[in-house]
Symmetry: C2
Subunit: 114 residues, 2 copies
DNA sequence: GGGTTAAATAACCTATCGGTTAAATTAGAA
DNA sequence: TTCTAATTTAACCGATAGGTTATTTAACCC
């Protein structure tokens, strides 16, 4: 069994996967079953089960029970904690936008990547 | 070489490590060298170099040059993008807090009736 | 009970992560 | 040039991540 990381690390790690972010986006529209969540992805059922487990351990979702279905529901507290952490840096990017030199350099570097 | 993930995934993955978040917190106070960043951690130099590389590939920092030193500097744009993503869910947890607020208010009013 | 459907578990595979030590690089100082 | 300091690169290691297929469990329906 893996050692439990701190909650914030677990949250950011859970968000670091586009499939999981898509699942959260879907759940923001309302709770739904694992099968329904799996449908849009070219991915096996067990893979989705694993993603849901990661999200659950990060506190980002909770699971319910409705006959054979195990609906997943968005739990926003962990998102809130992640947002709070980032918020501490907001001051930083708001005050640094007048750094034209860094801006142009970044644009140039991004251009080279493609 | 690893396949480049999408930028948002790279950012969240970079934030999913307490050492790297501590590095960013230090850099929010001002740019500094790799050695200075390594000092508070019980960790070898190469390990810090790797963390800095992860942060750099995520666009969260940039590196400079000052003699033998390679000062790292916080780059806030990627943090901004991550914050924007989370912001889309703000409505969700704020609604929940509104619900809680209304619930407490209702409890209070019901209490007054008795 | 027997069949069907939804989901989870088990076992496995490959790639990436986070660390190590040892060697190479880069730049200044004597 | 030679020495020294800061950092990176190379090579390696064990653990974790993200996927697969096959099997099992859970709950409903007849």
């Amino acid at each position: 069994m893996s050692l439990a990381p701190d909650p914030l690390s677990a949250t950011f790690a859970a968000l670091a996967d586009p499939t999981r972010r898509a699942i959260l986006a879907r759940l923001a529209l309302g709770e739904t079953s694992a099968g329904e969540l799996a449908r849009p992805f070219a991915m096996s059922g067990p893979a989705v089960t694993k993603h849901l487990k990661v999200l659950e351990r990060a506190g980002l979702i909770s699971r319910g029970r409705n006959a054979q279905l195990r609906p997943a529901k968005l739990e926003a507290a962990a998102l809130h904690a992640a947002s709070d952490w980032l918020h501490a840096y907001r001051r930083f990017w708001e005050t640094k936008f007048d750094d034209l030199d860094a801006y142009l350099k970044r644009l140039d570097e991004e251009g080279e990547q493609q």
